[in-house]
């Protein structure tokens, strides 16, 4: 990511008075992130059994921060059972040098040294009733333990959820908090990811929103989605909504498959947030993956809190006077 773009990004952070950091955010209409066990088939909706999120903590934050995970265990009502619950998920938090700036980190696939940085905390969860539908707290963390990325305006912590064994699906949420026992936002913080793996809301006509930020130099993007489970007759779909697009349709994938579509980015859309809107189909408990690449084949980050706010389509109205 280029430096100049991030200066603007920082400005947006300040302007929009960001208060993260429930992930997924309530506005996104996503209830849970999901990560399946290593042995789970991809048709369950997780292509690589790894989900990486980044948390940016502003330099002004001096008190400790905590990363809280809701329902980190595997079991109970929320998680996706596959046969019987036999899986384990590892949550690991990284900071320090190259936690974010290592090149392998900026990829949608977990390969190479994607676990770069200083491993600050980790825990493996399996079946654990005492953690079921409860918050587990990692930390406290000294903000300075993150990787200082000046262009991002703060310290970055990387959180990796990885399905280590089994074939069940772990559904969970994150919250970046200033308190160990309560969810209290960190002022000015934000979170982002390059690849979203989540469960679609089951309500009819519910719309899920993902907010990637389109950099200044991006002229086109390709959206890639996996295992949307599209079936003929489904009303569900993926559309792009932005200042210049009023729900431009994107391709949607079938079960255990990928779909890709390219979308040009107009000058008006550059340096703004666009809204990827996903309407679910008929399938219940539908987990899917989505990511976006720019024309350089580099991933575009989805921000929990949209930079600059959710986009509003600008209608072009043309007036003309008819001769009588």
């Amino acid at each position: 990511m280029k430096k100049s773009n991030f200066t603007l990004l920082m400005a947006f952070f300040i302007i929009t008075q960001l208060f993260a950091q429930r992930i997924p955010d309530a506005n996104s209409n996503i209830d849970y992130l999901c990560t399946f066990g290593k042995a789970a088939g991809k048709n369950w909706g997780d292509d690589d059994h790894v989900q990486t999120f980044f948390f940016v903590i502003p330099k002004t934050q001096t008190t400790p921060v905590y990363l809280r995970v809701y329902d980190p265990d595997l079991g109970g009502e929320i998680d996706q059972i596959n046969g019987e619950f036999n899986s384990k998920t590892k949550f690991a938090i990284y900071g320090g040098k190259e936690a974010f700036t290592n090149k392998d980190v900026h990829d949608v696939n977990p390969k190479g040294n994607y676990k770069s940085g200083v491993l600050l905390a980790s825990k493996v969860f399996g079946i654990s009733p005492k953690h079921d539908k409860k918050w587990y707290t990692f930390g406290p963390f000294n903000p300075l333990e993150g990787e200082l990325v000046e262009s991002m305006g703060g310290y970055i912590f990387k959180v990796i959820a990885q399905g280590v064994t089994g074939d069940d699906g772990n559904l969970y949420r994150y919250f970046l908090s200033t308190e160990a026992d309560n969810n209290k936002e960190v002022e000015g913080a934000n979170a982002f990811t390059y690849e979203y793996c989540f469960r679609l809301k089951e309500q009819k006509n519910a719309v899920t929103h993902l907010y990637p930020f389109i950099q200044k130099d991006v002229i086109s993007i390709t959206q890639h989605n996996f295992d949307f489970d599209f079936q003929a007759g489904d009303r569900g779909g993926i559309t792009i909504y932005s200042v210049a697009k009023n729900r431009q349709r994107g391709s949607i994938s079938q079960n255990d498959g990928w779909a890709t579509s390219k979308h040009l980015m107009t000058p008006a859309e550059r340096n703004t947030t666009i809204d990827i809107q996903i309407t679910p189909g008929k399938e219940a408990n539908n987990d899917m993956v989505l990511y976006i690449l720019n024309q350089y084949n580099k991933p575009v980050a989805f921000y929990t809190i949209p930079i600059g706010g959710p986009p509003k389509y600008k209608y072009n109205a043309t007036l003309s006077l008819e001769d009588e």
Binding site: L119, K123, T137, N142, L144
Partner: protein, 857 residues
């Protein structure tokens, strides 16, 4: 807050009672008052006493007075310090967040390495004093040896987060988030993997601490409680579970510290500190809780450390560094709560409850297990009545109560608690309106009572009178202030005006009346462990009696006052005395006295007569006019302890210089070789000595004395100032000496610095000789080659010049010696110069005769 505790306090509050906590004083050090940052990762103390504090933005060094912070600008590899260890010779090694290693050699920082280690250096384990095993968070162990870093092969640690490393008997133990790993140190210092403890498979071991005697270590876990690794008599180690209180078990143990007194301090990640105190049978006796709910500054404990003075330091995560000083004295203001005007008597009964006899009735107090709360509660029994004295026999369930005007009562501690009533004991000739001043246990289940104006009654506990003693029957006085039974079975009586007496084998020994004991106004008596009797008097101090003689201690010896109202010996066999203006403590072995008053931490004084008690934990309780003052036995009191002194800095003309550039020379005198001295040129004659004796508890209570041998005649008067300045020193041999004390009585060993200021060349003897030779040469030259009148003047001038030079030379040599004798008085100096001049007169005459002989003058 614990919900049961809250409920308890709520209930208690509704029963006209009062709870008070906090017997510790907290000094918080944070970024606002000097510490580099509020995240504390490591705390250590070097041999000089300096406290080193590693933070996320530098390392701070505290000397008890000032904090100095060092960063990359001072030579550190990184600003983020994650671990510190002290090496031999006072060196300090520092580990950093990104794998850097720095070293402090006593003067300067240097970077050891910034490349080899790629992970946070989280802990060190010193080995044989010279080498250090460093533990990284994610990439295993390295060895620091002879200034180099050697990575150890520890594949077992890959993928884990390591927290602690310790060395024990040539073995290394590593705590990780997934178990406990054991290595052996080979001869070449490499590590050989031994095993993973199966007991802790996948258990997060969050704390590992060596025990003080190196006979094992403590193991703290995230959710499984605390364990001990114990080495048995055969030298084999085994893990046993420690009976962690349920209260603590659910918290993640982040740090464990066993202090010098054997208490166990448990620092939790998010829930404060718990201090476990053990009985002699090694069961947990008390738990002290330090959380934000009990006004402790922080719940986030990262590290715990005990310094050489016994203070515990808690490094927190975001709230700075907290120095926890156990309050030596804690004052409970019962006047404020209950309007009590005097606590006249204190006893602790068999069930550890305290009973207080006051001018407004009876109160009881209790310290609850699980917390530091002292709960005081008014009793209905004898409500509003003046209580003069309380007595209970050890292990007994009866509390005896002497009242101001209600006679003698007793209270059954087992049976009467519900009804909360006392029973009046009818004794012949003691009415229900009498003032019972003293109750003392006698032989064979009897009591000795002092009844105001009526003398002494010896009774059975049933109330049956054995004998009554008053002046009608020849007893020494009708108003007995104290009755004390000693280990020999003697019953001692104290009075005002009739002095001291004791009763033994049917005989009364009137010590004061016979003149054996010189004092007539005596308040109270006690006995120490060695059988020595201690007597507190009204206006004449304290006396000890060892069966041979009475030895007195007065305000001249150091007591705060000669009016001594209460006296007791503690578990260390020191004597405590209560006065109106404070408390005195006599250290019997050292024969020294220390006093406590409002000036040094005692909140309220005005101790009352005989209102003193030692509880089951060894604490001393003093009753006074406003409540109770408790002295905590566990607080190590270092009044008698001298701290080492160091010369921290030597400045020349107020500037720091590298003194190693000045050569060392061997100086000697007529007595022999004096030693090595640093040699300074004559221009470097302005010295400033900075010295320090580090006390982290009471730095402003340190006194210094210094002397500059070769300049000062005697030691300077003791001062708290730790800087000495000497300006315009003459050339000569000097030794600067300094020593320190924290009470003005016990002084540390002297430390010294030897130096010599060499003379300028023109003051050297050879220069004078050269001058004289030159002048003589000139005289001869002029004499030989010129016969004019001008030469006569020149001749005379040169003669006098050479004589003057000789005079000056002699003056410089002898004058310092003369000054030492006369003190440099000007008129004496003038007289001395005249003497020298007269001595040189013959020389002047000789030269003139010589000149005349040569017909030039």
């Amino acid at each position: 807050m614990n919900k049961y505790l809250l409920l308890f306090i709520t209930v208690i509050s509704s029963l006209s009672s009062w709870a008070i906590s906090q017997t510790y004083k907290y000094n918080v050090f944070n970024s606002e008052n000097g510490i580099a940052q509020n995240y504390i990762y490591s705390v250590v103390q070097d041999p000089r006493g300096y406290l080193w504090v590693g933070t996320g933005e530098g390392v701070s060094r505290y000397d008890g007075k000032d904090i100095k912070t060092y960063t990359k600008e001072d030579g550190l590899a990184e600003n983020f310090i994650t671990s510190i260890a002290v090496l031999d010779k006072g060196k300090v090694i520092l580990g950093h967040f990104e794998g850097g290693i720095s070293l402090y050699d006593g003067d300067y920082f240097s970077i050891v390495d910034t490349i080899t280690i790629e992970s946070k250096v989280i802990d060190f384990a010193s080995y044989q004093g010279k080498h250090v095993y460093g533990l990284t968070s994610n990439t295993g162990i390295f060895l620091y040896k002879e200034d180099s870093i050697i990575i150890q092969k520890t594949p077992e640690l890959q993928g884990r987060i390591a927290y602690n490393i310790i060395e024990l008997n040539h073995e290394i133990f590593v705590a990780t988030n997934e178990g406990l790993i054991h290595y052996k140190i080979e001869n070449d210092h490499s590590l050989k993997f031994i095993k993973e403890f199966s007991k802790f498979e996948y258990v997060s071991i969050s704390a590992l601490t060596l025990k003080p005697n190196n006979k094992g270590f403590w193991i703290g876990t995230e959710e499984e409680g605390i364990f001990e690794y114990i080495i048995d008599e055969e030298g084999k180690g085994k893990v046993v579970e420690h009976p962690t209180p349920k209260l603590i078990r659910k918290f993640e143990v982040h740090e464990i510290l066993e202090d010098k007194l054997g208490n166990l301090w448990i620092g939790t990640k998010l829930h404060g500190i718990y201090r476990l105190e053990y009985s002699k049978e090694n069961t947990i006796k008390y738990v002290d809780i330090f959380t934000e709910d009990s006004d402790y500054p922080s719940n986030l404990v990262n590290t715990l450390f005990e310094d050489t003075e016994g203070n515990v330091w808690a490094g927190t995560y975001g709230d700075g560094l907290i120095q926890m000083i156990a309050k030596e004295f804690v004052f409970f203001n019962l006047n404020k709560k209950f309007k009590i005007g005097a606590v006249k008597s204190i006893v602790q009964t068999y069930d550890s409850t305290f009973y207080y006899g006051t001018d407004r009735g009876l109160y009881h107090g209790r310290i609850n297990y699980h917390d530091t709360m002292y709960v005081f509660q008014k009793m209905k029994a004898l409500e509003g009545q003046g209580i003069e004295c309380l007595h209970t026999k050890k292990g007994d369930s009866i509390l005896w109560i002497g009242t101001k005007n209600k006679g003698l009562h007793y209270y059954n501690l087992k049976a009467d608690t519900t009804a909360d009533t006392t029973h009046y004991l009818e004794v012949t000739d003691i009415s229900s309106f009498d003032k019972v001043r003293v109750i003392t246990e006698g032989e064979n289940n009897t009591l000795w009572l002092s009844v105001a104006t009526k003398g002494v009654y010896h009774i059975k506990k049933s109330g049956e009178l054995i004998k009554h003693y008053d002046t009608r029957s020849g007893f020494l006085h009708n108003d007995i202030f104290d009755i004390f039974k000693d280990s020999k079975g003697r019953i001692w009586f104290t009075t005002h005006s009739a002095g001291l007496a004791f009763f033994h084998d049917g005989k009364m020994e009137l010590l004061s009346q016979k003149g054996s004991f010189p004092i007539r106004d005596v308040n109270t008596v006690t006995e120490d462990k060695n059988g020595i009797i201690w007597i507190a008097t009204e206006g004449s101090g304290v006396y000890s009696f060892d069966e041979k003689e009475f030895k007195g201690y007065t305000s001249e010896s150091g007591l705060i006052s000669n009016y001594c109202y209460s006296i007791i010996t503690d578990d260390d066999n020191n004597v405590w005395i209560g006065h109106r203006s404070g408390i005195s403590k006599i250290y019997i072995e050292q024969d020294s006295i220390v006093v406590f008053s409002e000036k040094n931490g005692l909140e309220t004084t005005e101790c009352l007569s005989q209102s003193i008690c030692k509880d089951h934990r060894g604490h001393i309780w003093f009753g006074n006019s406003k409540g109770i003052t408790k002295h905590d036995y566990n607080v190590e009191h270092h009044q008698g302890h001298a701290f080492p002194t160091y010369i921290a800095d030597i400045l020349l003309f107020s500037k720091k210089e590298d003194l190693s550039i000045y050569p060392l020379v061997e100086e000697s005198n007529s007595a022999g070789v004096l030693g090595q001295y640093a040699e300074f040129p004559y221009k470097k004659n302005h010295f400033t000595f900075d010295f320090i004796s580090v006390s982290l508890k009471k730095q402003n209570g340190i006194y210094y004395q210094y002397i500059l041998d070769g300049y000062d005649k005697d030691w300077q008067k003791e001062t708290k100032n730790n800087v000495a300045n000497y300006t315009n020193l003459d050339p000569g041999v000097y030794t600067f000496k300094v020593k320190s004390s924290n009470n003005g009585k016990h002084w540390s060993e002297e430390v010294s610095y030897n130096f010599v200021i060499i003379k300028p060349f023109w003051e050297r003897w050879w220069f004078f000789a050269a001058q004289i030779l030159f002048l003589i040469s000139v005289i001869f030259a002029v004499n030989r080659y010129s016969k004019s009148s001008n030469n006569k003047r020149l001749m005379r001038y040169l003669t006098f010049a050479s004589v003057f030079i000789v005079f000056k030379f002699v003056n410089i040599i002898i004058e310092p010696l003369f000054r030492d004798l006369t003190g440099g008085i000007p008129i004496v100096k003038v007289f001395f110069n005249l003497v020298v001049a007269f001595c040189l007169l013959p020389a002047e005459k000789f030269i003139r005769k010589f000149a005349v002989a040569n017909r030039n003058i």
